[in-house]
Every structure is written in structure tokens, then in C-alpha cells.
């Protein structure tokens, strides 16, 4: 038994603290260590050693791998035995581990780590307060991959969990991290850097072999985006919801459409009304053939959007009532109600395009309400940040109907003013995001260029070019040495 403890503590070896090892040596040592751990049976981890629990001998930061093995074994034994109250210190250990483990070590034991997260997910479902396991899961995922940029099977699991447990805002730390990579097979001969190396993108170590994610399908990705969009809709973050829905729509497809795309398209139409008041143009890159299959089945939604544009509240309401059953079945009834509420709001907001100021009575007439109700409504719009306007009271009387609503010309004045500095800051931030994206785009491009199909294509093209050169033709494709153009450079 002492032997077991010695094995567990054998990594990292003490001499690492004296002289940090090279990546290659570290890689070799870890692999050797994991091989030894795999030989140990799961039951030995949960046995007490000398009256002390094994896990208490381990340091979650230093001995992350051993700690993980132990805690997963413990969770496993709890799961397989009869239901009983969870040990008190389990939560403490889990939270210490999830917030402090060494992510480099964990890269080597992806399978175990994934099982930990899956156990957490299961606990969240049975435990009467899901918030704690949900938060731990999130912390663990983000400690493993702080960029959160590589999609894993846990991502989908997590969003599902947040929706079911109705802890929507807990999903945001994960959802707000844009996904740029997907677990795939490492390409032989090219991406053979050790796992512990400083990778620029997390998808370099989150591969199918790593075990950090189980195999994912395109439908999994679509489902993640759709559920993410539903989360954003629940939190009334329309713009993000719209982008997520578009992610579902642009998924690469062999001219076929999925039910998820259909659902996304319907929600997309409604959310677009909330943002722009009309159907926006389709994002570029949507498969037209797939679209052609989706559209005929969503006529009711398209009709609803058309009526919204025509600007008649009564007709809109009637259409919403007529489709009641349909919206209900599709789970879109809440969105439809939201769209109708938004319709009146946008009518008032649009008044600011025509008027600088106008009497309350006119607005009340426009909305078909009494001045008192209107005043209240306008106050609500102004305080909720949708209306850049103020109500002016006529000093002579205190009657609400004599009030005047004054719109501010644009966002340079009024209660919702944005200063130029703020705008500039937003722009700089935006630029940073785009530069980052451009970087990722390069990486994606590189990976695509290593694709087997592309290589074959490139080879035939080269062959053809060589043939042409043999015939004496000049190589006209040479573009010359050039730097990448810095389009945003002058913004600094």
C-alpha cells in the first residue's frame, strides 16, 4: 500500500523544482506515470491508507493527475452503490480541485477529466441544489482551457444542463467564449508537438485522442448553438442569440437540412424582428439548397414577419392568435409575445425619427391609450434604456396630458448619451477582437491546407503547372514577396 502512495507521489519528481525539465522530457515522464496509474485498479484508490484517506495525502495542485484519479474513483463508487448522503468533504475536495488543478498535467488524462465533468453533470441532476455542481463544472472547463475556444462534448452537456436546471446565466461564461476549434484527429507528422507545449490554440491539445471530448458530430455542434441561442433568448440578449442561430444555419452541409436548422430558422426570423424590425439578409455561407428545404415549412413565420413590417398592430395580434397552437408546439410562444410587445415600443421609438418633440396627447392618441397610461409607459421605455428622450412638465399645470416628450437628436446628448471616447474605446476593442479572429482564421486556413483533399488538389495543380513550364510558358502565378496588409493599422 505504501507502494501505491509512493507511485502516486512519484510525479512530478522532486528534481523538477530544481531544474524545470524540457517539454520533451516532461512529456515522456508524464506518459510513463500515467501508464503506471492505469495499472492500478480503481478500487485501490478509494481504500483508506493507515487510517487516512488516500486523497488527503495528495496535493491537488502538484499531484493533479493522482488527485483526479482518486476523486473520479470515489465518484464512481458513489454512483455505482446505493443512494446515500454524499460525504461532506466531497464538495470541498471537488471545489478545491476544480479551481486549482494543473491544466498541463490534466491534458494527459483527458478521459478521466471528462468523466469527472460527467459525474458532476449527473450530480447536478440528482442533487437538490444544482448551482454548485454547475459552477464547478464551468470552473473546471475553463481551467482546462481558459480560452474555451475548442468545442467538446462537455460543452453541449453543460448547456443542456444549464437549461434544464434553469441556471441560464451560469451558461454565459462558456457561451460567451467564441468557439473556433473542434476536436479532430491530429495530423500525423505535422502536429507532433508534445501535449504539454505552449499551444497557441486549444484545439491543438483537445483532440479526439486526448479524451477531453468524446467524438462529436455536426448535429452536436448545431444543438449546442441552438441551445445557446435559447439561453440568450431567455436572458433577452437578442443580438448574441441571433449570431448563435446563424451559426446553426451556416453549418456545412451536403445540401441537406436538419430539424435543428429548421428550428433555428424560425427563431431567427422572430429574433431578427426584435433587433432590426425586419428580416435581415441571410448570413453569407448558408447552404442555399438547405435553405430551400427549410423555407417552405416555415411559411407561418415568414407571414408573421411580413405583417410586422406592414406595421399594423391589430393584424399582427390576429396573426399571433391564429398561430397560437403552432407557436406553442414549437416552443416559440414566448418569443412571439415578445415580438408583439416590441412592436409598440418600436413605434414610439420610431417617432423620434419624425419628431423633435411632441405633446403627450398626440402619443396617447397614436397608441390608443389614456395619457396617464402613456406617461407610465414612456417612463418605462426611458428607464429601460430604449428611448433617448425626456418628459418635460408644463410648469403651469401638473396635468400629465400637458407634458411634452422631447427626443434627443442622437446619442450625443440626452440620458443615453455615449461620448466620443466611449465610441472610440468600443472601436478599439472591436479591432482587437477582429485581429484575434484574423489570427485564428490563419490557423484554420493552415489546417484546411493540410486536408487530404486539398493536398491532392494542390498536387494536381502543381503537376499541371510543371507541365506548362516544360512547354516554355512563364509562371504567371508568382505573387512576389509581400507582407500581410494591416487594414486596421491606422486606427491606433
Amino acid at each position: 500500500m505504501a507502494n501505491l502512495v509512493a507511485t502516486l507521489l512519484s510525479f512530478p519528481p522532486d528534481h523538477y523544482t530544481v531544474a524545470p525539465p524540457s517539454k520533451v522530457i516532461y512529456d515522456r515522464d508524464v506518459r510513463e506515470y500515467v501508464k503506471q496509474l492505469d495499472k492500478i485498479s480503481a478500487s485501490s484508490f478509494v481504500k483508506a491508507v493507515d487510517g487516512q484517506e488516500l486523497i488527503d495525502l495528495l496535493d491537488p495542485i502538484r499531484n493533479s493527475i493522482a488527485y483526479l484519479y482518486t476523486i473520479v474513483s470515489e465518484l464512481q463508487s458513489i454512483a455505482s452503490s446505493k443512494p446515500k448522503p454524499l460525504p461532506d468533504d466531497l464538495w470541498t475536495r471537488l471545489s478545491i480541485f476544480c479551481t486549482s488543478f494543473d491544466p498541463i498535467q490534466i491534458r494527459y488524462v483527458g478521459n478521466e477529466f471528462r468523466r469527472l465533468l460527467e459525474h458532476l453533470e449527473r450530480l447536478a441532476r440528482v442533487y437538490n441544489s444544482p448551482r454548485v455542481p454547475v459552477q464547478l463544472m464551468c470552473a473546471g472547463m475553463l481551467r482546462m482551457d481558459p480560452s474555451g475556444a475548442t468545442f467538446t462534448s462537455t460543452h453541449l452537456l453543460y448547456v443542456q444542463l444549464c437549461l434544464e436546471a434553469r441556471t441560464l446565466e451560469e451558461a454565459l461564461p462558456i457561451l460567451d467564449k467564441p468557439i473556433v476549434g473542434f476536436p479532430s484527429q491530429a495530423i500525423k507528422g505535422i502536429e507532433e508537438q508534445p501535449l504539454c507545449a505552449d499551444h497557441q490554440v486549444s484545439s491543438a491539445y483537445i483532440t479526439l485522442n486526448s479524451g477531453l471530448s468524446s467524438a462529436v458530430s455536426a448535429e452536436d455542434v448545431q444543438e449546442y448553438y441552438l441551445l445557446g441561442a435559447i439561453t440568450y433568448i431567455g436572458l433577452r440578449q437578442w443580438r448574441k442569440a441571433l449570431t448563435f442561430l446563424e451559426h446553426v444555419l451556416v453549418a456545412p452541409t451536403q445540401n441537406t437540412a436538419t430539424g435543428l436548422m429548421l428550428e433555428a430558422y424560425r427563431k431567427w426570423l422572430l429574433v431578427a424582428l426584435l433587433i432590426e424590425g425586419k428580416s435581415p439578409s441571410f448570413p453569407r455561407g448558408v447552404n442555399q439548397e438547405a435553405l430551400r428545404k427549410i423555407k417552405p415549412t416555415s411559411k407561418a413565420y415568414e407571414a408573421f414577419a411580413d405583417i410586422y413590417k406592414s406595421g399594423n398592430l391589430l393584424r399582427l395580434q390576429a396573426e399571433a392568435d391564429a398561430g397560437q397552437g403552432l407557436w406553442q408546439d414549437d416552443g416559440n410562444i414566448g418569443l412571439v409575445r415578445q415580438v408583439i410587445r416590441h412592436f409598440t415600443e418600436s413605434q414610439v421609438i420610431n417617432l423620434s425619427k419624425t419628431y423633435v418633440a411632441l405633446p403627450m396627447l398626440d402619443i396617447a392618441q397614436h397608441l390608443g391609450e389614456t395619457p396617464a397610461v402613456t406617461a407610465q409607459y414612456l417612463g418605462f421605455l426611458a428607464t429601460s434604456g430604449q428611448l433617448n428622450a425626456s418628459l418635460e412638465r408644463n410648469s403651469a399645470t401638473s396635468d400629465t396630458s400637458s407634458q411634452i416628450l422631447r427626443f434627443y437628436s442622437d446619442r450625443s446628448s440626452g440620458p443615453l448619451a455615449q461620448s466620443e471616447q466611449q465610441l472610440h474605446a468600443a472601436l478599439v476593442e472591436q479591432k482587437q477582437r477582429i485581429l484575434e479572429l484574423a489570427h485564428q482564421l490563419k490557423d484554420g486556413n493552415r489546417r484546411l491546407s493540410l486536408n487530404k483533399d486539398y493536398l491532392e488538389y494542390a498536387k494536381t495543380r502543381r503537376d499541371r503547372k510543371e507541365q506548362a513550364r516544360d512547354g516554355g510558358a512563364m509562371d504567371l502565378d508568382w505573387a512576389g514577396p509581400g507582407e500581410d496588409e494591416d487594414m486596421m493599422g491606422d486606427l491606433r
Binding site: A218, L226, T256, A257
Partner: protein, 506 residues
């Protein structure tokens, strides 16, 4: 007189155009400019829209129709005259004349058909072509436009010269215009212009000047004001006026028709062209293309008030421009082609005037706007019942000036809402305020917007690329249906119901 009054009251109620004040022109000298069908058409329009001239115009129309070969037209004019003046001797249709004329027409038609048949047997192309032309001309004169068009189309097969085709096209245009088919007329004339290079040099100007003027008319009637203006501007006044001939003389026919007398006179070109230009061009364009055009100036000299209205507009004297146009509203409402367009054209000019006027200011009181653009002048109600509306406006100005302000307010609101006028209303202070301009801010905002859009596109692109790179592509289903939207539009079940899991929270 009673019948006349009743007839025009009914028309006004039905929303038809009624011009109660006598026009500025003299009917007799006006109609002397025209020949053929258009003469009766024009007389009919005046007769059914203008009470002071109605009887005179319709009597002239009846006399005119009786000399022609179109029996239906004669009967119609008689009926129109009967409606306003039942006791008039001319209003009683001469049925014996109608019978004999019908028989004569039948005989002449048969004769022409037989002749054509004879030509066809002889296989002489030119004879067949001319025979068809005669038949077409004859059918046109009897009002049988379908047969006329058919006969003219037949000419194409026997044409030997480009000139023949050009003539045929003009014939077809005339038939289309008589039927008020503007689109076919315009397309015939487009064809005529493509023939231009192949015509003999001596024929070119003749066909050109007719072609441009007619094409302008077709576009004008089809409400394409800008195209119409550009075409009218290309018509050559010298050739066109010369072709009209002196009063009394015949003028020079093209394709057997003296166009400036059969369809539109040089004066009409000036009015039609001028109004289309006013409705569709900016101030700078009007100056450069119309007022400074040496060609069109000669036309404008015939109608100096059109020129004056344009000059007022160019010189930013909008109120004068509008009142000049307004003075001639009655005249133009009695024009066979302009009648349905006058209201629209005036409204367009008025809109342009308001927008241009306001461009120079940052804030104008609505009272001032109402003074500059008196609402009742061009309000739609004035088109139908000018007499009553002038009465009310007189009363308004006497009692209170709030109504014009209210009217201009709703007019301005409509202009702002349709995006034509870049301004906003300040109701409590009764002002029209121009939008603040803050170019620096606008640039920042638009940059931010572009960048956001760019990021969105980039992100979606990247997502797609990465999915492809990872081999995550939605495969075409092997068995139709399950989990997918099939090609026949049937919605398959969602994947194990998982997809709708979150729906409850939506």
C-alpha cells in the same frame, strides 16, 4: 344648361377631372394644330372635362367624326354631346349615315383584301408590303386597332429596306398610342432607335426627331418621368417644327403621317418635356441639361411659362414656381395625355420644392412653411373641385391660419416618414428642424457598425471552415426522412426530441 350642370356634378362626384374655369387657350386655334384621330380624342377630353367649353368641343367632335370612317367613334361622340345638351340637333345620331358608312367601309375593306390577295398571287414583295400598309391604314381609320396592328406586322415579311421596317415600327407605335398601350409603344420606339445605323443618311433625321418625341411621350404616359425627359431633350426642334408645316399647309409626312399634327405638336413637346424634367431632375441638372440646352430652348420658347417655372425652380423661388405651374393646371388637365398625370407631377415638383427649400435652413417655423407652400394650392382635393377649395381657403385665411399649418404639418410628416425630407418636427414649438450633423460621430458610428458586421461574418466563416476542417459536415441522409427535413418539405422528427429540450424557456 341643366343637363350640362348635372352631368359635370355627377362626374365630379365620381372623382373624374372637372375643370370649371375656362382654360387660357382658345379652343379653335388650339385644335387647329391637330389632324386625324387625336383631334377627336382631344375634343372629347375637353368636352367631358370642361363645362365652359363642353358643348363647343363636342359639337366640333361630332362634325369631325362624321367626316371620318369610325362609326363607333361617331356614335360615342353623339352620345357624349347628348348627355350634356340633349336638345342639340347634332346630338341626335344620324343613323342613315351610320348605315351607309358601315356598308361603304365593308366594301372598301373587302376591296383592299382582294387587292392584297392579288398582289400575293403575283409574288411582288413591294406590292404586298404596300397593300398591307393600305389595309393597316384603313383599319386604323375605322378604329379597328387589332386588325391594323396585324396588317402592319405583316409588312415586316415583305420589307426590303431598313426604312420599310422603320415605317412599319412607326405605324405600330401609332396604333399602340391610340390604344393607350404605353409599354408596347415604348418598345416599338426602342426598336426604331436600334435601326438608326442602318438607315440611309437622308432619312436619319426624319425618323430620329419623330422617334425621340414619341418615345418621350410613351415614357411620360408610362410615368417614367426621367426617361421621358431625357428622350424629349434629344428631339431636334428644327426638324420637328419644320415637319409640322405652316398653319394650313400639310407639313412633311414620315411613314405617311404628319406626326407633329397627328400626335403631339412642338408646343406639346415643350410642355411634356418641361414637366417631366421638372418632376425628375435636380436644380443643377435642370440648368445644365434643359435651360442651357440649345435644342430644347427652341421648344421652350413656344411655351414661355414652362421655361419660367423651371427658371424659378433653378433660382430657388419655389413659391413662384409652384404658382406658375398652378396657373396652368386647368390647361394641362384638358390635355389628352397629361390629364391623368398632372396631379402626380405637381405633387412631385412640390415635394422637391419643399425638400430643396428646407435644405438651406436648420429650422423653419411651420407658419413660414405654410406661407411658402400654401397647402390648398396643390392638395389633392383641389384637383377635383377647384371652385369649392378656393372658396374654403379664402374663408380660412380670413378667420384663422391654423388649418394651413395643420395641413402642412401632416404633409411634412408624410414626407419625413417616407424618407424624402431629412428633417424632424417640433410640435410644441411649431418648427421644422433639420437633423443635426455630426460627421465625426457618424463616421465613428458607421465604422463601428461595419466592424461589427465584419466580425460577425468572419466568425461565421471561421466556424464553418473549422467544422469542415474537423470533418464535421452534415451528411446527406441515406434514408429520406429521419431527423431531417426531406426534399418534399415534410418535417422529420427532431433528433430524439433533444433539440426541443430548451424550448420551454424560450
Amino acid at each position: 344648361m341643366m343637363a350640362l350642370q348635372a352631368f359635370f356634378d355627377r362626374s365630379a362626384q365620381a372623382g373624374k377631372v372637372v375643370v370649371r374655369d375656362p382654360p387660357k387657350f382658345d379652343l379653335e386655334s388650339y385644335i387647329a394644330n391637330y389632324d386625324g384621330r387625336t383631334r377627336i380624342d382631344r375634343l372629347l377630353v375637353i368636352g367631358t372635362s370642361c363645362p365652359p367649353l363642353a358643348v363647343e368641343a363636342l359639337r366640333a367632335a361630332v362634325r369631325e367624326a362624321k367626316q371620318g370612317k369610325d362609326v363607333d367613334l361617331y356614335l360615342n361622340t353623339c352620345q357624349a354631346l347628348f348627355a350634356i345638351s340633349p336638345d342639340d340637333p347634332l346630338a341626335k345620331a344620324d343613323m342613315t349615315w351610320a348605315d351607309t358608312r358601315t356598308k361603304q367601309i365593308k366594301a372598301e375593306g373587302d376591296r383592299l383584301e382582294a387587292e392584297l390577295k392579288g398582289y400575293k398571287n403575283n409574288l411582288i414583295k413591294e406590292s404586298i408590303r404596300m397593300g398591307s400598309e393600305d389595309l393597316g391604314n384603313f383599319a386604323y381609320s375605322t378604329g379597328d386597332f387589332a386588325s391594323a396592328a396585324k396588317a402592319y406586322t405583316r409588312m415586316r415579311d415583305y420589307a426590303t429596306l431598313p426604312k420599310h421596317i422603320a415605317e412599319m415600327t412607326l405605324h405600330q407605335t401609332l396604333v399602340a398610342l391610340a390604344q393607350h398601350q404605353w409599354m408596347p409603344a415604348a418598345s416599338h420606339l426602342t426598336k426604331l432607335r436600334t435601326l438608326h445605323p442602318s438607315l440611309a443618311p437622308a432619312d436619319k433625321p426624319k425618323f430620329d426627331h419623330v422617334g425621340y418625341a414619341l418615345a418621350g411621350l410613351a415614357e411620360l404616359a408610362g410615368r417614367n418621368y426621367r426617361d421621358a425627359a431625357m428622350l424629349f431633350l434629344r428631339a431636334d426642334p428644327q426638324v420637328f417644327t419644320a415637319a409640322a408645316g405652316q398653319p394650313g399647309s400639310a407639313g412633311e409626312p414620315v411613314a405617311g403621317v404628319v406626326w407633329p399634327r397627328a400626335v403631339l405638336t412642338p408646343n406639346d413637346v415643350a410642355v411634356y418635356g418641361g414637366l417631366s424634367a421638372l418632376a425628375s431632375m435636380s436644380r443643377a441638372e435642370l440648368q445644365a441639361r434643359v435651360l442651357d440646352s440649345s435644342m430644347f430652348r427652341s421648344f421652350l420658347e413656344l411655351e414661355p411659362h414652362v421655361r419660367r417655372a423651371m427658371a424659378f425652380f433653378v433660382n430657388a423661388k419655389y413659391a413662384q414656381c409652384l404658382s406658375t405651374l398652378e396657373a396652368y393646371r386647368g390647361d394641362w388637365l384638358l390635355d389628352v395625355y397629361l390629364q391623368p398625370l398632372v396631379g402626380e407631377i405637381f405633387a412631385m415638383v412640390r415635394q422637391k420644392c419643399i425638400v430643396q427649400y428646407f435644405e438651406a435652413f436648420s429650422c423653419v417655423s411651420l407658419d413660414e412653411m405654410a406661407r411658402q407652400f400654401p397647402p390648398t394650392v396643390l392638395a389633392p382635393s383641389a384637383v377635383k373641385t377647384p371652385a369649392t377649395s378656393t372658396k374654403t381657403s379664402a374663408k380660412d385665411s380670413a378667420t384663422a391660419d391654423s388649418t394651413p399649418v395643420l395641413e402642412i404639418r401632416s404633409e411634412l410628416r408624410a414626407l419625413i416618414e417616407s424618407g424624402i425630407l431629412p428633417a424632424r418636427l417640433d410640435i410644441p414649438n411649431n418648427n421644422l428642424v433639420s437633423p443635426p450633423s455630426n460627421p465625426r460621430r457618424e463616421v465613428l458610428l458607421s465604422a463601428l457598425e461595419d466592424a461589427e458586421e465584419y466580425e460577425r461574418t468572419l466568425r461565421l466563416r471561421l466556424s464553418k471552415i473549422n467544422m469542415v476542417a474537423a470533418g464535421l459536415e452534415i451528411q446527406a441522409p441515406n434514408d429520406e426522412g429521419r431527423g431531417r427535413v426531406g426534399g418534399d418539405g415534410v418535417v422529420g422528427g427532431l433528433r430524439g426530441g433533444k433539440g426541443t429540450r430548451g424550448g420551454r424557456w424560450a
